[in-house]
């Protein structure tokens, strides 16, 4: 979901949007700014992948 932050200041406040783009995944992962595709997928989804043999990298907070 793409959210226009200036039109919905309540949402921007709730998710502490201090800059854009800011991506919030399941209210648990926050990514500020753009990332290369591989990094974005890693950071955004690490917590939500089926547990494989090796642990996934934890997203930076």
């Amino acid at each position: 979901m793409a959210v226009e932050a200036t039109e919905f200041p309540d949402l921007a406040r709730r998710y502490r949007v201090t800059g854009v783009p800011k991506t919030v995944v399941n209210d648990a992962v926050e990514i500020l700014g753009g990332l290369p595709q591989d990094d974005f997928v890693s950071q955004a989804l690490a917590q939500f992948l089926a547990a494989p043999g090796e642990p996934e990298e934890q997203p930076e907070r």
């Binding site: 979901m1 793409a2 959210v3 226009e4 932050a5 200036t6 039109e7 919905f8 949402l11 921007a12 998710y15 949007v17 854009v20 783009p21 800011k22 991506t23 919030v24 995944v25 399941n26 595709q37 591989d38 997928v41 890693s42 955004a44 989804l45 939500f48 992948l49 089926a50 494989p52």
Partner: protein
């Protein structure tokens, strides 16, 4: 009155021409007390003229609460991007939503979303496609943006 310059219209026409499937935009709006809804309608009105594969359907957010609930829309203006289902109807929910006026950079994002749901322009690598396919929990991504 056209918001897009002729050169931009031409560029968009070309971008949409790569689509292989139709896309329907469900536009949730209300008539009173929603200036951004008016702007959004003006922007969306530009799109069907640029591609036969794009259709807009307006939904009254106040009167059609069922549809708003069905598409998990709780404020306006909002756009739900629908693609084609197995029977060829454009009712398949891509689960992509736009909240707020899709102007400026958001317009580019909307164009890209339409293209993607219409079968064009994915830049996702095979590797990342596999990784995303391994997600086994519901994931909601909210991307906050501003028009500039």
């Amino acid at each position: 009155m056209a918001l897009l310059a002729p050169a931009d219209q031409e560029q968009l026409r070309e971008a949409f021409s790569e689509m292989t499937a139709p896309v329907r935009l469900l536009f949730f709006t209300q008539t009173i007390d929603c200036e951004p809804c008016v702007q959004t309608r003006q922007i969306l009105d530009e799109l069907p003229a640029l591609s036969d594969r794009i259709a807009i359907e307006e939904v009254n957010f106040v009167l059609d609460k069922d549809k708003a609930a069905q598409y998990a829309v709780d404020r306006v203006p909002a756009i739900a991007v629908l693609g084609q289902n197995g029977s060829g109807e454009t009712t398949e929910d891509s689960r992509i939503r736009f909240l707020g006026t899709p102007s400026g950079y958001e317009f580019i994002s909307l164009v890209q979303a339409i293209r993607l749901v219409g079968g064009a322009g994915s830049t996702l690598t095979d590797d990342n496609r596999r990784r995303i396919a391994a997600v086994d929990k519901p994931v909601t991504m909210q991307v906050f943006t501003t028009p500039t």
